[in-house]
């Protein structure tokens, strides 16, 4: 089965960014519509990935293969399974939202802003579909460049520090991964094919080293406690669109890396080090939950809430049962929608008030009723209210955790309380109560464009919460396959 769908998903946004850059920042109207057209085209080409996806198959689909660097047997090898396919759709969808969100608020160099996001979107599709180690790495690292520029150019007052911290932190991890990839290449007798690495037996010593190299790389990206400190900085300083892409997609890259690399390539080391991973994940869930509680800055609060939610994801992966892993994947997608929406909501308020401080708000519901409704809805989803997508993932992971160990599940379940506490307390202070000051009193409710963006996201969150079957259906076969694979010892 040969198709060019994945190549389209990668290259349509990237090549489409060229005319956007070329249009220049003077012609704002043209730039916006062009960027929107490219983003929508980019989303449309990914739709057949879902409609033509064979849910009964566990293997890779839509495979494309071509030699790239013959000297090192590096291939342009693309393919998706039930684990990676949803993220490509999510990414392309979020890109459309980001373009819409930056419609009016970005005044400076809009062409570069839109272009950077389109390039970023293509690169991230590349990460999710690459099946060759070097190809994956190349996309993984190249995606740092547009994000560095986005944070640094359109970010807040402390943007330079945040951008450089973001870049160097992530680079630190990925450089170690590069060494691990080369080691695997040599050990496998000259192949960078990830699927071949999955089958390759490796002794325990090297397995642990490789696991650690991958761990550093992916843990920074997820981010896991204690290497999470770049995230609040990056989120706070990034423009709204940057925060959305970071939270919705970029964080998923790390988690995806665990499923694609760590678990199947070094399963024995994964089992051996699972207690460590679980401990780190639970720390993120509980400790970072408390940290989120005391934040005064809304973006920072959501950033910490992201770390805490991503702790759930890594927890789900390392308890090694189907419901846990699937729950983690659902949680990843759901968090993609919810965190994107939360950051967009803060963005909406920031555009009007130029403040993210909770203390500057109060009684927003009186002046922005439509907005307040949506914001409260997303906040509920963020704290895991049943019938929203936030509930499904968390519930499944908690079930999985209780299956593995009651106390683990108990610790994980505290997030339902903590999450509700920090999110709803923020909502109470920002949305409800009396109108805090004149600025709030002068607020205007969201316009049609903003309503469209938030409304679409709300629909997704609700749909996924009420009827998660279309999402879990595509994952089943791949997750089962993964777990079977991981359960087999592959020591030499």
């Amino acid at each position: 089965m040969n198709s060019q769908l994945l190549s389209l998903a990668i290259w349509v946004p990237i090549l489409g960014a060229v005319p956007v850059f070329a249009a220049g920042s003077e012609r704002r109207c043209l730039v916006r519509w062009l960027a929107l057209a490219v983003a929508i085209a980019g989303f449309l080409v990914t739709l057949p990935l879902y409609t033509r996806f064979d849910v009964t198959q566990a293997g890779m689909q839509f495979v494309e293969q071509a030699p790239w660097i013959t000297r090192f047997n590096v291939q342009y090898l693309l393919g998706v399974d039930g684990i990676s396919m949803p993220f490509i759709l999510l990414n392309s969808f979020i890109t459309v939202m980001v373009v819409l969100a930056g419609w009016e608020v970005i005044e400076e160099k809009q062409a570069q802003y839109m272009g950077a996001f389109l390039v970023m979107s293509g690169l991230m599709n590349g990460i999710f579909s690459a099946l060759d180690g070097v190809l994956f790495y190349v996309f993984f690292e190249a995606s740092l460049i547009p994000m560095y520029i986005i944070i640094g150019v359109w970010g807040g007052p402390n943007r330079v520090y945040a951008a450089i911290k973001f870049f160097l932190y992530t680079l630190l991890g990925s450089l170690l991964m590069l060494v691990a990839l080369i080691w695997l290449f040599l050990e496998s007798g000259g192949s960078f094919n990830i699927l071949e690495w999955h089958r390759m037996p490796i002794a325990m010593g090297p397995q642990i080293l490789i696991f650690i190299a991958f761990l550093v790389s992916f843990a920074v990206k997820v981010p896991m406690w204690p290497v999470h400190t770049w995230l609040p900085d990056a989120h706070v300083e990034a423009p709204t669109g940057g925060s959305v892409v970071l939270a919705a997609i970029a964080l998923k890259l790390g988690a995806y890396g665990f499923v694609r690399f760590s678990l199947p390539i070094v399963p024995d080391a994964s089992h051996y080090l699972a207690p460590l991973m679980i401990a780190l994940s639970l720390t993120a869930v509980v400790y970072i939950g408390f940290v989120a509680l005391v934040q005064a800055d809304m973006k920072k609060l959501i950033a910490y809430s992201s770390i805490s939610h991503m702790g759930f994801v890594t927890l789900g992966f390392f308890i090694f049962n189907a419901i846990g892993v699937e729950g983690a994947l659902v949680q990843m997608i759901s968090h993609g929608f919810i965190s994107a929406a939360m950051f967009l909501c803060v963005g909406v308020m920031y555009d009007r008030m130029h403040s993210r401080m909770i203390a500057d708000y109060g009684g927003v519901v009186h002046t922005m009723p439509k907005f307040a409704g949506l914001f409260v809805f997303f906040a509920m989803a963020n704290s895991g209210l049943p019938a929203t997508s936030g509930f499904v993932g968390e519930f499944m992971v908690i079930l999985g955790a209780i299956k593995a160990n009651f106390w683990m599940g108990f610790a994980a379940a505290t997030t339902l309380i903590l999450g509700a506490a920090y999110t709803l307390w923020m909502i109470k202070r920002v949305v409800f109560g009396a109108v805090a000051n004149d600025h709030v009193a002068a607020l205007e409710d969201i316009n049609g464009r903003e309503f469209l963006v938030l409304g679409l996201l709300a629909a997704c969150v609700l749909a996924m919460g009420l009827y998660p079957f279309p999402f879990t259906e595509v994952m089943h076969a791949s997750v089962d396959n993964l777990l079977k694979h991981v359960a087999v010892v592959k020591l030499q």
Binding site: I69, R71, Q112, V153, L168, L178, V179
Partner: protein, 493 residues
């Protein structure tokens, strides 16, 4: 005695002979028309180099031919390196045209010295004996000393030339001393016979290793590796930017050829010994180069330290040919070709980076401080993007050629069992990423200090754009250049 004289086969040395003859013509033309029509000298210089390229291409048959009593070799590697050298020199001449004219530095001597330096590099690249190697090296170095001091008004330039000369002479002396030791032990100056004599094992090991130390020191000086790097920052800083660009590009190819010919062709029997020396120097270069570059505020100095670290990475490839004293042809070709690839990629990036400095300079103004790059994205988004490509490429971020160069040498190093060294190297490249990021930060995140329009000519703009696109293009499609490097090396070993 004269009856024994055999006319050597001049055919393999045709490009060198052509260049030498043409240089006389350039001299005459400059003498007659130079005062009023300097462009003719420049044109003729470029034509000479193009002619050399044509001759090199036509005479390239993929065979290894030795001539001048085995003192001169013409093989695929030398053809390839010479072609890249011509390209680098021509690019330098185009990049530097306006800069030199604005400062009254486009004297006839400039072009002549450039031609002779190029001739020296060509001889180095084709050297198959200690003697030709030394001749080529001296011809190149002496011309370069002159070029550094070409601006007689500049105190910094004169000082740099002095420093370069004294240290260079010292290094040449060491190299010569080492060569004489090896000659004493093996009884030959030709690299082939030296290698043979060593394999037969009749020579005194102590003398050989003693000589080797001096040879390696000489080579390291020319490559600019720690601890023989002291001249690099001052010379890069002091020389006029066009000359800095020249020193920072083509001579690296010649130095690579020298290292490869001396160490691999001649002294391979001592590989276990020189690999250890290179290992230490590579790690030190990568470390010091990257750390010291952070502290620089002058972009030429920053690029100088970056050059030191890049040569360290290149040597990672050069020292990985022999694994545990066992020769495996595949591993050896892999390692040496990765070093070759790294050198070529570096030359390309270095030309582009200095090209940016030339782009921002104008009559009476040297844009050599990092500050001058502030807000470039506002002044010219296109050239800011070009510099972004150069910087990320140098930092080793994909999709640019610099990443694949680093990838190739790291692969070679890990294959040779230097995994720990590879980890150290990548950690230092993380530190290195910081100062490249800082340049991007200045261009994109800051507001311009210098708001004068960019006045550089069309030739420079077009060349710089092509250079930037080449760095990106060889990154997106790295296969071709890698294969060329591998083939050139494989057919010449």
């Amino acid at each position: 005695m004269l009856n024994n004289f055999v006319m050597p086969d001049l055919y393999p040395a045709a490009p060198e002979i052509f260049l030498l003859l043409m240089s006389f013509l350039v001299l005459f033309v400059d003498l007659i028309f130079g005062a009023t029509h300097r462009w003719m000298t420049a044109m003729l210089t470029v034509v000479t180099l193009l002619g050399c390229a044509a001759i090199t291409l036509v005479t390239s048959d993929g065979q290894t031919t030795l001539t001048f009593s085995n003192m001169f070799v013409d093989d695929l590697l030398s053809d390839f390196l010479k072609l890249v050298t011509y390209l680098a020199v021509i690019m330098m001449l185009i990049y530097g045209r306006q800069y030199l004219a604005d400062r009254g530095l486009d004297k006839g001597e400039f072009y002549l010295l450039v031609l002779y330096a190029t001739l020296g590099m060509m001889v180095m690249i084709s050297a198959a004996s200690f003697l030709t190697m030394y001749l080529g090296l001296e011809l190149m170095s002496l011309s370069l000393y002159g070029l550094v001091a070409i601006d007689r008004e500049s105190r910094r330039g004169t000082e740099a030339a002095m420093k370069y000369f004294v240290l260079g002479a010292l290094a040449s002396g060491m190299l010569l001393y080492g060569m004489s030791m090896i000659y004493g032990a093996t009884g030959s100056l030709e690299l082939g016979s030296v290698a043979q004599a060593m394999y037969q094992g009749h020579s005194e090991k102590t003398v050989l290793v003693f000589g080797l130390v001096f040879v390696v020191a000489g080579v390291a000086f020319k490559l600019g590796m720690v601890p023989f790097h002291m001249w690099i920052p001052d010379v890069y800083h002091g020389a006029p930017t066009a000359v800095t660009m020249f020193i920072g590009s083509a001579p690296k190819l010649a130095a690579f050829a020298m290292a490869l010919r001396l160490l691999v062709y001649g002294l391979f029997a001592l590989a276990v010994d020189w690999q250890k020396m290179l290992l230490i120097m590579a790690v030190l270069s990568i470390g010091l180069g990257n750390l010291a570059a952070i502290a620089q505020t002058n972009i030429k100095r920053m690029l100088a330290y970056s050059a030191i670290s890049h040569m360290g990475y290149m040597v990672l490839g050069l020292m990985s040919g022999l694994v545990g004293g066992q020769l495996d042809p595949f591993t050896a070709v892999n390692a040496y070709s990765s070093a070759l690839y790294y050198t070529v990629a570096y030359v390309l990036m270095s030309l582009g980076a200095f090209g940016m400095v030339l782009l921002l300079s104008r009559a009476g103004y040297e844009a050599e401080n990092l500050e001058d790059f502030k807000g470039l994205n506002k002044r010219s988004p296109w050239f800011a993007a070009m510099m972004l490509i150069m910087m990320f490429s140098m930092a080793g971020i994909p999709f640019f050629v610099g990443f694949f160069a680093k990838f190739a040498v790291l692969l070679a190093a890990i294959k040779a069992g230097y995994t720990a060294v590879a980890v150290i190297a990548v950690m230092f490249s993380l530190i290195g990423a910081f100062y490249y990021l800082r340049v991007v930060k200045l261009m994109y995140f800051d507001t311009p200090v210098d708001s004068a329009p960019i006045t550089a000519g069309l030739d420079l703009r077009v060349l710089l754009s092509l250079n930037g696109l080449a760095v990106a293009g060889f990154g997106l499609f790295p296969d071709s250049l890698m294969l060329v490097c591998t083939t050139a090396l494989m057919r010449s070993l």
